[in-house]
């Protein structure tokens, strides 16, 4: 349990630092690459909670597909690659105040509700996920597949030149 807590602490520190760099760095490509660190850290947290399938999906879908989409987005919009420019707007302090207030409220509520609640992860195997997804959650699964198709068609219809 101690080893798990140490690993959690290292991962959490790295994730929070990288997330902070995502929203503060003045370089678009670097921000996207810091996002990779956060996503990989989240995947490692899933592994720490003994949930293997979601870790694999996180690596494939987020790090493999979504980050590549982001890099294509920066490329297609001719972002200032490699150069540092001003990427923030002038309401930075108000934004910081809002998010700090939100953080305070959430920490207070979570501490009140769940202090001294322990997690003892049991391994949830991929076959359990499959049985659940194609059993009780078959209907949401089909709805999500239709949603993906609609998003695919919509993205092509929006972005094509005509």
């Amino acid at each position: 349990m101690v080893a798990q807590n140490v690993v959690f602490g290292i991962l959490a520190a790295v994730m929070i630092l990288a997330a902070w760099r995502v929203v503060t760095t003045q370089n678009v490509v670097r921000a996207v690459l810091y996002l990779v660190v956060v996503l990989a850290g989240a995947g490692a947290q899933y592994l720490l909670l003994a949930q293997e399938f979601i870790f694999v999906v996180q690596v494939i879908v987020y790090i493999g597909a979504i980050v590549v989409l982001f890099l294509f987005g920066t490329m297609l919009t001719r972002a200032p690659i490699g150069r540092d420019v001003n990427l923030d707007n002038d309401q930075r302090w108000l934004a910081a105040l809002t998010s700090l207030f939100l953080l305070g409220v959430m920490i207070a509520v979570l501490f009140d509700a769940f202090h001294n609640t322990h997690v003892k992860p049991t391994i949830q195997r991929t076959s359990d996920v499959a049985n659940s997804m194609f059993g009780p959650y078959l209907m949401p699964f089909e709805v999500v597949s239709v949603l993906l198709l609609a998003a695919l068609v919509g993205a092509i219809a929006i972005a094509r030149r005509d």
Binding site: V57, N89, L110, H118, V144
Partner: protein, 99 residues
């Protein structure tokens, strides 16, 4: 492990995402901040799933990942369209609907 350490991590990531959405003026980076927020929600779902020994947390985190992929696809298509029409993706310049 305490449940709260995962929930606090997710809360911090979510608030950093909120800050990014509010403070960034590049549309691609706003989408990246939204990804941070969705990831925080996923950590919460998976942590509660592990705490309750219930598979539903993992299944719904998978659904959230799918919807995040769809959202990024459509969002980047819109960003590319805005760039094509206005030659800029700075969000404070896209104020066509301002009253």
């Amino acid at each position: 492990m305490l449940l709260n350490q995962f929930l606090f991590l997710a809360a911090v990531l979510f608030c950093i995402g909120v800050y990014g959405v509010l403070a960034r003026r590049n549309a691609v980076l706003v989408l990246a901040s939204i990804e941070l927020m969705l990831n925080a929600v996923n950590i919460n779902l998976v942590a509660f799933g592990a705490y309750r020994h219930n598979i539903a947390g993992q299944v719904f985190a998978l659904f959230v990942i799918t919807i995040a992929a769809a959202e990024v696809g459509v969002g980047l298509a819109i960003v590319v369209l805005i760039f094509r029409n206005r030659a800029s993706i700075a969000l404070d310049e896209a104020d066509l609907m301002k009253g």
